[in-house]
Symmetry: C2
Subunit: 320 residues, 2 copies
């Protein structure tokens, strides 16, 4: 971490351009970490570029600093330092991966166990609850600025990536950081309302429809919910309005593996897996070309939703 801090400091002193970027299809940790790092650097130097991901899910529209984000096509500056946050692999950047070609130095900050250490400097801490936790530790150690907005982004990163402080990865340090964020003036209640109490009506309907049709297999050890194209039209929901469904399945007694199969198109299926105690979700998803964490992972499939379900069930059965 020290070499990263020294390098960022000297880049700031030299007035070099620094870009912050994260993965496509972003979550709270990637957006929160990117914004926290970017906003802090911006208080030190003018040359900070916030790289916009492909989409910004509705849940995160309240995050401060989003308006600073620039699409890849609108970035004309040469980038001296590219800070990649919460990305296990350069491919996860999607179209923004092109920045790798034009950036002189890559700093890779992540907590995914599957991280490929693609940076010139790598701060990869798999035992950290979230990239947000690493960013807070880095900013604190470096004595880089933290204000209410930056603290809000870090709270969001940590809360969303720990299932509201419930995962195995949560430690004493996680809650100590949150406690310190209150010193920086965060309104925890407002952040929680924004994150968890603004489920749209369409999403509410999609949730109810999906869980009404959930299926259990293997004595209730596996729970599967499918969201089909038909359901989007019935509920007026977008395909990205499925948050909370797979967690609802997982939270049923006896369920070890919870799966959400999301039909984006006939042969374009997104898988989300959550496990409770002994099945490695990362391992199963890696067989479908995806990955993530041991208790929460994702992948894609180019089969039909029924065929994907069959393959998935076969695969999970090996580990039950």
């Amino acid at each position: 971490m020290n070499s990263a801090i020294d390098f960022i400091r000297s880049s700031v002193t030299q007035g070099l351009s620094i870009a912050v970027v994260s993965h496509k299809n972003p979550d709270g940790d990637s957006l929160g970490s990117l914004l926290a790092m970017g906003l802090s650097l911006e208080k030190l130097t003018k040359n900070v570029i916030f790289v916009k991901p492909d989409i910004i899910p509705e849940d995160y529209l309240f995050l401060p600093g989003l308006e600073k984000m620039k699409k890849i096509d609108d970035i004309n500056t040469d980038i001296a330092v590219l800070i990649v946050l919460d990305c296990s692999d350069p491919d996860r950047l999607g179209l923004n991966k092109i920045l790798f070609e034009s950036s002189k130095k890559i700093i890779n900050i992540d907590h995914h166990i599957s991280n490929t250490k693609f940076g010139d400097i790598n701060i990869v801490v798999p035992e950290s609850s979230s990239t947000g936790e690493i960013v807070f530790d880095l900013l604190s150690k470096a004595e880089f600025p933290i204000d209410t907005e930056i603290a809000t982004c870090i709270y969001t990163a940590i809360s969303t990536d720990t299932g509201r402080f419930s995962y195995e990865s949560v430690t004493k340090n996680t809650h100590l950081i949150i406690s310190k964020l209150y010193d920086f003036g965060i309104n925890g209640y407002n952040i929680n309302k924004n994150l968890y109490q603004k489920r749209s009506l369409s999403r509410t309907k999609l949730f109810i429809l999906a869980v009404s049709n959930l299926k259990f297999y293997e004595d209730g050890k596996i729970a599967i919910a499918k969201v089909t194209k038909d359901m989007y039209s019935k509920t007026n929901a977008h395909p990205d309005e499925t948050e909370g469904i797979v967690e609802f399945l997982r939270d049923t007694d006896g369920v070890e593996v919870a799966c959400l199969l999301k039909e984006l198109n006939n042969n374009d299926i997104k898988l989300s897996l959550r496990t409770k105690e002994y099945v490695d979700a990362n391992k199963i998803c890696s067989l479908f070309g995806g990955g993530g964490h041991i208790r929460a992972s994702g992948a894609s499939s180019t089969e039909t939703i029924e065929e994907t379900e069959k393959m998935l069930l076969q695969e999970i059965n090996k580990y039950l």
Copy 2:
């Protein structure tokens, strides 16, 4: 708080009997606080009586110390000191209220704003997130013992009474306490699994049935779900398996007041209210003879479920 600590210390020295009791129809905060206080005192003296409430909801069966609880009829000892936890009013003790007659001194530890200060010594801290937070502060200040089991009870008390650290009442101190609980060896992941990832199949079915029939009023500012006797038989669920329903309604965008109406019998309806920003749930529930907190309150009604709904809608409309 100091006078309570001094009094408890001298009672322990004199070998007096101390009983811990909480409200009927207990929640995580009442059970967690009662057990934490009782288990800590038990490490100081033999004369601790854990008074059993009317029921123990399934979610909390994992709590350490439950086996020490005694029913009121089996308690023959005279009680010198009665520590009442998380109770706004003696009536909330239900049948265990009889202990008030035979106890020489009452210590009242609570965080409800509606607390009637019924104790000889009152530690009432409405700005505290939970009674568990007050108990932790008391044990720490008094240097009374805290071990992994006691810390587990306190975690449960705080987490459940703050909606997983999301409510307005959560402060820097709340997370600082949780951070310290990790020092006492708690397994946060296990506690969270026990609390939030063991929804029974019957409860899952009841949840889906209830939310499938939810209704919105006043441009979606009010959301009401009804659980009827008929639904229990359809899903094999118990009337106390409704946790999570009212929070699900509240978490819908635009909803200010979320209500769950639970039919225990034809003219025995339980109300649960959650509000988001400006409606005082405590005020509305107090009109039905109940109460609680500004954002979360409960009450009962002896009207039919339909009549109760009408009355409730009229009342809420005054504050929208």
